[in-house]
Symmetry: D2
Subunit: 489 residues, 4 copies
């Protein structure tokens, strides 16, 4: 049983982090360290599959944080061999069971395959229906199994060709790692919605794939390249083999990776996340100045933006909120009081700093608005005379379908209230958001195509691909041209 499942601050959840390693004697142990560096991408379950010396795969999976799943050292001792892949998961609503914890492991006519996935397949329901009509059985409620069934049904002559054929059927966002007795594969969707990188270990020359560069650093792997949209990479005993399963690609990395999900020390397509966030803070300071005494960032995700804001506004950047570095669960029943308690167990306002001060509270985003409300209340309880909220990203009005658990607008505060109403509800003295242009300029991807390499659909309703099974949920907005969709390339 997981002991430390915690309330997520924003109800905005990355669906996972993935990590794989090929050709290292400590494959499973390094996978543990790599997943530890990716723990922020998923905290409700974790698993590792290792290829043992005899070629058999062995899995250890469980609910809870990585350190809980592997608290019994025997579980790590079970994971021998020189290749391993792992996954950390943030469960989505209704999908909390152990059956959804990855990597998945299946048997294909005596060949075992393990699979770890980060993303969301937008034509999953359609494919699932088709596959079920053909007799497929799904054990999990996740989309991830679909790839396995597509491979299984492919008539292509080799495994690699089956895999390519299967990948071409998928729509939406996906970064996959597959492990077979013979090779490890990494594949990214044609739009590059999710971050995915390759590294190389210094000594024996093993290869590493991971959701973020921060995980490469942890295992001391050298960064080789970002996996490119549409790329399928095979790692085997002959080394690394790059190829593309499609040439119809664009780059549309999810802007929220820069805003909120990724670690500040990660680089995505050459852009450092901390630097991007700092520029977002600078940009909102320029766009929405306000007379105040200090800047306070919400730790930890908004500290970079707060730095940028304070430098640009030439105001002191103060530690007006402190985060508890330990994680624990409250004992309160699930009520509103529980949510407030959860915020108070994680964050404290510092009266000695904010009392009598006009505070600019810099946050990276507002999703439901409840956390913001409690933070502002804490700052006022601590004596702040004014609290001006500056959000270092645009207002979050539209759902995402490419790998983040926010597929309706039901809980999106900005989808239901005007900026002024939001300001009232959260109890701020003023509330302003960064413009979409400000965001794009702050990230400043070196990519010339449409969208400047980004997906900003959350903010502007512009989806870089059709959303397939979800199209109906946006039908009214699409009819009114409020949201728009690019065709597949």
């Amino acid at each position: 049983m997981p002991t430390t499942t915690v309330e997520n601050e924003k109800s905005l959840n990355e669906e996972c982090g993935i990590f794989g390693i090929w050709n290292d004697q400590k494959a499973a142990e390094l996978t543990f360290y790599g997943l530890h560096a990716l723990q922020h991408r998923g905290q409700e379950g974790a698993g590792i599959v290792a290829k043992q010396a005899d070629g058999r795969l062995w899995q250890e999976r469980g609910l809870g944080l990585l350190s809980e799943v592997f608290s019994d050292p025997r579980r790590m001792l079970n994971l021998t061999g020189e290749a391993a892949i792992g996954h950390v998961r943030y469960a989505t609503a209704g999908n909390h069971g152990i059956e959804n914890i990855q990597p998945f492991m299946v048997n294909f006519s005596d060949m075992q395959i393990a699979l770890a996935h980060n993303g969301n397949i937008t034509n999953a329901q359609t494919l699932k229906q088709e596959l079920e009509d053909e007799g497929a059985i799904f054990q999990s409620s996740s989309d991830t199994e679909i790839l396995l069934h597509l491979i299984r049904r492919s008539k292509a002559p080799t495994f690699d060709e089956k895999l390519k054929e299967a990948l071409l059927r998928l729509r939406g966002g996906f970064a996959f790692i597959l492990l077979t007795p013979n090779a490890m594969y990494a594949a990214l969707d044609p739009h590059g919605f999710r971050p995915f990188v390759i590294g190389r270990l210094p000594e024996a020359g093993g290869y590493v794939v991971a959701s973020e560069t921060a995980a490469l650093e942890t295992v001391r792997a050298e960064f080789l390249q970002d996996v490119q949209p549409g790329e399928l990479i095979r790692f085997d005993n002959a080394g690394m083999h790059l190829s593309k399963y499609t040439e119809q690609t664009t780059l549309n990395i999810d802007a929220m990776e820069y805003v909120y999900f990724a670690r500040p020390d990660s680089n995505i397509y050459g852009v450092n996340v901390h630097r991007a966030r700092k520029r977002m803070g600078e940009a909102i300071a320029t766009e929405q100045p306000v007379d105040a005494d200090m800047v306070v960032g919400v730790p930890n995700s908004s500290l970079s933006a707060a730095m940028g804001y304070a430098e640009k506004a030439q105001l002191p950047n103060e530690m007006g909120l402190v985060k508890n570095q330990y994680i624990a669960r409250s004992f309160i029943e699930p009520t509103q009081e529980r949510r407030e308690r959860a915020v108070r167990m994680k964050l404290s306002a510092v009266p000695a700093i904010v009392a009598g001060q006009r505070v600019i509270l810099v946050d990276d985003s507002i999703v439901r608005g409840t956390t913001s409300k409690y933070i502002i209340k804490m700052l006022r309880d601590a004596g702040a005379s004014e609290v001006h909220v500056r959000i270092a990203s645009p207002a979050f009005k539209y759902p995402s379908f490419y790998g983040v658990d926010m597929q309706t607008t039901d809980e999106l505060m900005a989808a239901h209230y005007s900026k002024d109403e939001m300001c009232d509800i959260i109890g701020a003295d003023s509330l302003e958001f960064l413009s979409v242009e400000g965001l794009v300029t702050s990230i400043d991807l070196p990519y010339q195509g449409a969208g400047n390499g980004l997906t900003t659909a959350y903010f502007d309703g512009h989806y870089p691909s059709p959303v397939y099974d979800y199209q109906d949920s946006l039908a009214e907005l699409a009819a009114a041209n409020i949201v728009t969709f690019d065709p597949e390339p």
Copy 2:
């Protein structure tokens, strides 16, 4: 992690116990009690799936004893609703992972199905190959998933008909419980290789299915009937619906259920197991008398036979061996010393009783012979002057393929050594086995067909059906007419 996985005394493992309940407010709790009564049929893993009020199935599964899997009370609290099925598993070689713990739960186009299985499908490899050729994916290494794939691929118009069609494809021994949002099903193979019974709860009228009648007693259910070979029973809100999916049936219940597997308080096809064992003891006393001072049975499985032997031989039945009622694991590394330690942690010889005595040691069976060796050593260390071993079943020479983990003769002592050699190896003063006739007469099933309702293939090599995928392993013996096979009815 299971804490008390223990060495099995005989390396002769029933593959599982199954239990299901339909229409009772405490369905999952009663399933726990029912499985507790069946724990002797499988100790390496346990699981329960319950149908919640909203029609969704929820599973809790884990490695270890039932009490370990459910040691966190939150796991039971997750299992709400008025129907539940459960499983206790004894893992077979190479199949120890959590992925093999049942009940399995899968999704069929929005219908969830849970499945618990006791038995062994003799054409599993053939069907699996065929299914995989058609694109099926297997997540576990067990045979149980095959039924689900067969149902999924059936073209029959209703679920019940699909299920019947699927059952008709299977060969070998199987007792299945299926749970869907609408009904619970119980199905038995056409030979009735495994025990399977139905009961009714006194108050609200719920139905219970279980591997043994002892599990009915535990939940205070009234015995209704043995599930008959070839029967498929549906329990739904309209009650119980009996039907047969085939009329081509015989009765060939595995004789080892009477000899060793089943609880003494269970009845199988009207024959009480304790009484049958007692008669086996009487029969071997008659067939193989020996001059001695006392009878000592190996607790607990051989106590009934020892009673019968002692009564027939008019010798005192003495408690020369005592069993520790608590279970614990040794800390020794897996060596021969570990096996001896395991025996010593479970059994003690009583010097005050056996010193200077000529002992008739009654045991139900000899499989590998190592346990016998240690027990005889313990009795001699305790001062026994003679140890005459009387086995209350015939010599165990041939494998079983209908649901017991003994599918080769590799570890069968009687397949490799003569009776005299065995006597030497285990260190006994004499060794005798019950005759097959003695066994059949002792069980005395009220059934007139071939084999008198029993499978005695272990002892006489007569298999009441072809063994399909295993045929090759018996080819030489079959060629020499040492083993024989009845055709399917």
Copy 3:
């Protein structure tokens, strides 16, 4: 958290089992096996203290069964060195905390001492008051700490003399094992109320002390002798040193050890427990015959007596009740239903055996009577036409103060009801008890002193010593000469 704390069948609890080993490389591991053999003497907590190579003591203690306390293998790895002592505890009312789990470990001016105790000090309150008046502090609510304080306060010149002086202050029943960096000690009270034995390991010549001989067998130690009343034995690097701290001794071993507590394979002062129980069964058969069809013993504790009854009465001894060999906890809230559920999870009646039969139910004792009631109900539900209860010990009317958790008569059914009333309450057709003479003759200790070497106070109110702090609770009965007390020798 212990997962399997179970309802005790009789609410008659031995307070513990103790085990110690001196001079063996696997001291802690053997202590684990020894305690496993003594688990029946206490199931609510367990602990081991080992003397590490550097002379420091290390303790591992916890609530629950031994296998639960040591489920994490790291706990055993912490226990290195060549001497260790251990304890299994049955907590008494109000004393459930971890602070009461033994062995206790304290520091005396840089000398550490660990202590394990089985028994009850009858002048504990008086001594505790006196010690507290002098400034002593007690951390547990058990009596065991008293010995440590008495040693600490002694003015005697050596540790051994301090220990002797301290032992002389204690009254009541006690068997102690002490471990210091230099030696292990075993001490028994002057009446020998509790069993306590010494053994020797075959190879390196290490010594073992244990509550019962069964624990010697488990570690393959050779029995040397029973610890004698008033004996203090020191084990050190020079070997074993026997001595007496007092010559004022009698032998009054608790008769309930033979009746119920001890394992049947243990010998106490030369008498095998199984044999004694079998003779009790023979005696009650002779004293209280009844016309019936079969004898059924309550497993496991009454099986020996049932054997004796059946042999004497020349009736079949049938397995009319079957015990589940696995332990699990019910999920029911603490109500009467829970107690019934607990009985049903442990025992089953066998309809095939008892239906239509006149059953003689042989039990070793009746304490509260509730378990008897449920067992009789189960037998009648299973079809028994008559149930005649024969108790192979006298009626249990008076409390014990020498080491058993039954220090008032409040829950003693026989203290409040006549035999006929008891028969009605438990629902039997007849109820009879063994006479005290029958009991004494059955045990047949080779001891010529008063009481024939036994304490039978439970049955006849004759206490072989004053009961000190408890005297008031028996004042009325003493005034009426219903209970009597021998003076200290």
Copy 4:
């Protein structure tokens, strides 16, 4: 077993955090939250004792983080009642057993007492010897029990007077919370070495005592006052009663509380810790400027000082190091590689920020220097062209005896190497420390007495009191007047 015991970054350990609450219905739950806010003060064990409705105390204690100790929700359910005290502990060398986890709970003539302690008694060995000579027994190896024995031995007429008498015997640093069935007490040593504060709950008016104000905030208690040196405060049903057990007091709060131990959001004697640290950063920037491109603070403890340095030096404060917010243990055996792995699991350098840059690395202190070495290595691996280390406190040359686990100079790098040697060893381009004057001025306590209210012995060897049992360890330094001691006031 604790799963996440982690390498401490500095091997400089506060010995604990304490928290108590009187008169609140959720006493134990609030104590959990309060301890969670103090978890940084001790991570190797935690415990809570609650006064139940019947006046009995109940304890739950364990090894590991608070969230691990209370991972089984039943442990919290055991802790009922309206008063509770708790403790988080950082075990010192050789004292890792469960017996040292506080609060301690003892029995005084039917009165139970629980005790939680933060500090170190400098005359503990002397008192312990004296108490043992009088017959006292110590169960733990901690000093904390001494207070209980002194109370127990006091001849004063009331408990409060006994407690005062006992407190007067102690020397060194101590903050105590005691809980009895009638009252809760808080006591601080006469020098105020450790922080200790009182708060009041808003609603029912319960009282809270805690090591730091941050814990008051977490439970929404209003700050009332710092406990003053020499103060003994009683909380009972009549409210709060302030008193002094001695008037011979000074204020000498440990300067390391401001430098490293306390949370930045805590205030100690009116000085906010974050503000003090920021001023330390400013002071070292003024004292030791260096030409560079950016300031990087070691997260989290040095972020405040880095802010101060950057503002004063007018350099960008960059996030060149990122801390993983999750805690996990490495699987490596205890070697140097393990220490490096531990640093890498906690911290990452950000190449995108530091590559090619001249970095001023601001850290709060250097103790052993190994962590600094690995951090500098990481920065250089990430491309930093220069790394100038600025320590925002003076060089740490002398041990502490007032409550921090650093009682010898053995591991103090600055005690054995010159500044230049240290610079070489850690691999920095330059290394400078804050002056003692700079430290004192930065903290700027509003206290006029000797030492300005601080203990700075670590840095200047000036001890504000004799160090009693530890005097010998400093004898040479004292003889050479390198360290000095004030007499007791």
